[in-house]
Symmetry: none
Subunit: 228 residues, 4 copies
Amino acid sequence: MEGAQAKAVEPPWIPFEDRRRARDQKHDAVLRMALKLFLEQGYHRTTLSEIAAGLNITKPALYNYFRGKEEILVGCFSQGQDLYEASFAAVENDAGNGLKKLRGLIRAYASVIASDFGACVTRLDDRELSPDARAVVRGAKRRINAAFRQQITAGIADGSIKSCDPKLTTFLIAGALNGIGAWYRPNGALSAETIAEEFAARLTEGLAARQPTGGDRRKYRRVAARRA
Amino acid sequence: MEGAQAKAVEPPWIPFEDRRRARDQKHDAVLRMALKLFLEQGYHRTTLSEIAAGLNITKPALYNYFRGKEEILVGCFSQGQDLYEASFAAVENDAGNGLKKLRGLIRAYASVIASDFGACVTRLDDRELSPDARAVVRGAKRRINAAFRQQITAGIADGSIKSCDPKLTTFLIAGALNGIGAWYRPNGALSAETIAEEFAARLTEGLAARQPTGGDRRKYRRVAARRA
Amino acid sequence: MEGAQAKAVEPPWIPFEDRRRARDQKHDAVLRMALKLFLEQGYHRTTLSEIAAGLNITKPALYNYFRGKEEILVGCFSQGQDLYEASFAAVENDAGNGLKKLRGLIRAYASVIASDFGACVTRLDDRELSPDARAVVRGAKRRINAAFRQQITAGIADGSIKSCDPKLTTFLIAGALNGIGAWYRPNGALSAETIAEEFAARLTEGLAARQPTGGDRRKYRRVAARRA
Amino acid sequence: MEGAQAKAVEPPWIPFEDRRRARDQKHDAVLRMALKLFLEQGYHRTTLSEIAAGLNITKPALYNYFRGKEEILVGCFSQGQDLYEASFAAVENDAGNGLKKLRGLIRAYASVIASDFGACVTRLDDRELSPDARAVVRGAKRRINAAFRQQITAGIADGSIKSCDPKLTTFLIAGALNGIGAWYRPNGALSAETIAEEFAARLTEGLAARQPTGGDRRKYRRVAARRA
DNA sequence: TATGAATGAGCTTTCATTCAT
DNA sequence: AATGAATGAAAGCTCATTCAT
């Protein structure tokens, strides 16, 4: 029969590349399903069985792709961080003064946090992680914060941002942005772009230096210099 | 002797009062210890044994004061909410235009979130609660949000706040404030008062209406009117 | 004042007898409440708190009257046994042949099992008891069984009861009687007396020797003789 | 080769069948071990650890076969009920007058109650069950009682059973039969068949209508007619 | 005599993880 | 690569019992 012949000719082993691709696809599918449930129910209340059931496989099958529950969580954090770092890198490579770049970072952050993997970085608790993994995650978070602070400091230095405490301002901006993850809904009234634009505008409108006056600005100049 | 006479007159229900006070003190001690551990380690990773051990009692003794782990969590949320509601009520009873009251709310919120019970309302996950308790907590959170939005709307109406989307602005402000709970340390460089002042200033400096122009403001006027 | 004088004359201590009586009353009240709950809910599902609550006292107060939960159960069994033994003794002291006395025992048993304390002997599980207490209870149950068997054997011997296996017949009768405890309700359609009469009639109507024939009867004569 | 060919033809679901059979066997093994211990020690005094230990597995392994302790108990009741219903159905389908069928039911009941699963229906306390499961069990018990009463009523109607109160007689018979569970031992002097025969004879010998007299019988005729 | 508080022992249940197949 | 079965560890909770007052 033709079918049998055709089958017989086909190589009995799936090509290595294909296999690896299939494997990676499943790996990612696990990650996405797990993340969805983690965000919906929280990490502890999500069992491996649920994740597996959502993928129509069984619990132990997950162990083919991850060494354990924590590694799944690490995977989520990791993908989220990549998103932030990639979009931040794009902004930082752009031209522009501190204020402009700060706005860019805000837009970038808002866009990323509107995605599941972006949201998980701040919405999942990194204390579930082992010390090692936690150190990695915290490092990434610090880098994100540092990026904000750096542009603020730069903006103060280049005169585009008025004098302010870069640390506190960073906390304020990051906090407002992180809040998005708690209320944003993909199909809600506000699109991610709208939110990004609006937050970029609102969070910097008070920071823009109106006119280069010397008075207040000097106050934080030293701090900016120290931390830059 | 005076002592004996005085004693004879003392009302017989004093011991009851003492007992009740002692009981309430222990009730609160459990709550504080539990909250401390919940904030440090997360709710699920905190066991009743740990809470008990921290108080030098045994696990079942906790059941003299609470019906179960969830009720302890409810108690934490509840105390936190009381703090918010009390401090908000004080602000709302003050005189002043929308902008001034909004600043007051921000200060109030920042002060409260700098306390453990204040922080827990946003930092603990209300999905651990039973549907009933969760409804209560969510109701309280909604009221807090509503208070912000109300003053923003009022401020737009009275001309003290420039035209903006009250909902988005509320989210922005609340997010920034909630962020405080994640990094504030009682003995850190920034005092709660400083933070409160700084956030009140920064979060409203862009909102203050410079001069009553008609253009942009009309955009949100209708929304403000509708929601007031 | 008269009141004070009258009071002053009264002996400050309750007379010993009165005290003991009060104590015994409370002891019995505990027993009755416990028994009620044991029968309603089962021994294990009944907590000491429930018993205490039913008496408007607190749990540890029970320990003034009983050394522990098991002793309460022992008390229930014990009172029930007394009822059986007293009513059986009355029957056994009566005059009459085996059949007549067997009917008397049945009536007596039926009357007793219609009471809470009577019912508990068969409806509560004596395996909850310590080996010692259990031995006592089992001894009492054996004595009750022996009383039935003895009259059956006597009846066979005196010709009033037809030939039958005394052991099996005892089990049959006792079983039917014990069943009463499972469905009898004090305020139900059937009074305890009716039940007693009816069971006495039904359970013996097949046993009554019609006419002294030798055939069948000899079959169990030897058994009867051996066991008498 | 034949072997290979045969193998190729074998349906691929054989292993599934095997697995399912093994699973069912274990399910039943759990049930039997649990029942044995429940009957020996009572439900509450039997722990899941004991059941597991008796099967050389660990406690949580039980959860592969049952959702919890109560479901094990439900399984015991359920199997017992099936035994009763099957053996009763066989009797009810037989030919014969009411008296003959009543004897058949007694024999059937006695045979079943001599087995562990039969005994458990009356010896385990259905108050341990959830309301739903309890309703099922009680329904089954009621059907058993109804079967007895129905044949008694039928017997009175067809003249094979003398006038009597069907309800009380049912209670008497069922009680005597249930008693068997309390003293029957599989390896004892009395075989289940002997007991069944003897109980069928003794419990009906007084009921058999000697000669159709009108007097007494009319007394319960109406009841019989009403209830038939 | 009675109480509030505390304890120790024990139980059912859950779940991430492992292993033989 | 995937599964069913099993396990170890641990958690929350209950309750009889004790003790200081």
